[in-house]
Amino acid sequence: MRYIPNSSAERAEMLKQIGLDSAAELFRSIPEELLLQRQLDTPAALSEIELLAGFERMAARNSAAYRSSFLGAGVYEHYIPTIVDHLISRSEFFTAYTPYQPEISQGTLQVIFEFQTLVCQLTGMEVANASMYDGSTALAEAVLMAERVTRRSKVIACGAVHPEYLEVVRTYVQHAGIDFEHLDFDPATGQATTELGSALDDKTAAIVVQSPNFFGCIEDVTALAEKAHAVGALLIVAVTEAASLALLKTPGAAGADIVIAEGQSFGVPLSFGGPYVGLFATREKYARQIPGRLVGEAFDKQGRRGFVLTLATREQHIRREKATSNICTNEGLIALAATIYLETMGKRGLQEVAQQCAQKAAYAARCISQLEGFSLPFSAPRFNEFVVRSPVPAGELLKGLAAKHKINGGLALSRYFKDRPNDFLVCVTELNSRAEIDTLIEALATR
């Protein structure tokens, strides 16, 4: 095996030095009846040439990966500067472990410190952690944290929160004694209703809102923050399209207490759903309730600045069952990719990406709404996604677009909303050229 340095002769010599005759004797501490007396029934070893050919064959069957695409719904195709992949491929970053020894991990630690800072700047919050698995699990952790902070047990999700995020939260809270409710969106605007009525009371730990929401509609976060704070509850804001943070009022400025986001938009490829990176930010006063790792500034005896993992007593390796979360491994390398992306694009690049998304989506929405038989069912302002109502079932329509025009035209909402057979969700980013958008419009017109 070419990844194993010692040859079989060297290994035989080492066995002899420790007084053993064969490799089998290394496993004498395993009762014989438990030893696998046969070869594993897994494939025989492949050469690099054979292996790559095999994966290329499988990849070729992913026809959706080779089309122009208007799919979003929590995962977005944005421009990724070439240097992102180059820099994360430096072995000093990608073959390092969690930075437990700060003297020889300053690279990773400084990256995380910059990442935490950028997350705070983008969300308008005061502290951020070193990352969560993804947006959905970050939301689940935010709900659990709200319960810890308020010692209350009811959480209300408002409006069009990503359906898969809601499913993940339900899984996480099912044994935590949390009553997780979901209030439907306003069918005219597509937004959450801010009239929460009797659902909101002094047992409410938090309100959850996603903005832009699953339908691309921008929510009135400020109004919901006021509602939450009036009863002593927290406001949790979820963001699945993080590119919007460069343009929209920050959740922090709108009054959020916890902000979670999916960071995939920041330089991370689609990769069929992962690995992505969850962003998690909150107010300074809740820093000791935050889940996951935190990096802080520290100094050595000579006064030189460095960075260390800090406030570790919140974590599982110290507080065990009383920890703020069970998370250990997070998404370090993807947080690095996001950091490189954010710094490369910089202030102006992030603004331009967000503005192009909004302008192009507005153009596409305008044109599609003028097509015979098509309409936009929701009236709320939007960022880069919008729902289209088609005159025919959306699933069939989109399959036709794929087959005839090689376009992923969007997501049929029937996947999550059985009562919306003709609706589909269209996402437009800076990567969709006007020619692509016009092809989509033309294809819809001539379906």
Partner: protein
């Protein structure tokens, strides 16, 4: 050798109690702070909280450990040491002085009699070390 003042009462959880009238001042011992290492954070019950003897009244954290704090006496908390928020290191530098944690108005003054004396506590820590 850890410092064990004569005039205090001690618990087996390494808290000390100083009694003045019906008010008990509580902190952790020199031995405890020494085995915990650099204290970085202290969280204790607020004034007005009612505590039963041996109940937890908070926790003390070093960089890599958390220890729960147990009150040796019952009563109502009258005061917490606010200065520890800014200077938790007082628990290390002056455990019996500025490192005190809470004051409790005792509801059952007899409880202190069942605590260890300085000599008994010293013997107890010797056993623990061995």
């Amino acid at each position: 050798m850890a410092n064990v003042p004569e005039d205090l009462h001690y618990s087996k959880d390494h808290e000390w109690v100083r009694v003045e009238g019906n008010i008990a001042t509580i902190g952790i011992t020199d031995y405890a702070q020494n085995s915990l290492g650099d204290v970085v954070y202290v969280e204790v019950s607020k004034a007005g909280d009612e505590l039963a003897a041996n109940e937890s009244f908070g926790s003390v954290e070093s960089v890599k450990a958390v220890s729960e704090l147990f009150t040796p006496v019952s009563g109502v908390v009258t005061e917490q040491n606010e200065a520890l928020q800014d200077a938790p290191e007082s628990v290390n530098t002056d455990p019996y002085g500025t490192g005190w944690m809470i004051r409790v108005k005792m509801s059952s003054a007899g409880e202190v009699d069942s605590l260890l004396t300085a000599a008994e506590y010293e013997d107890f820590t010797k056993e623990e070390t061995e």
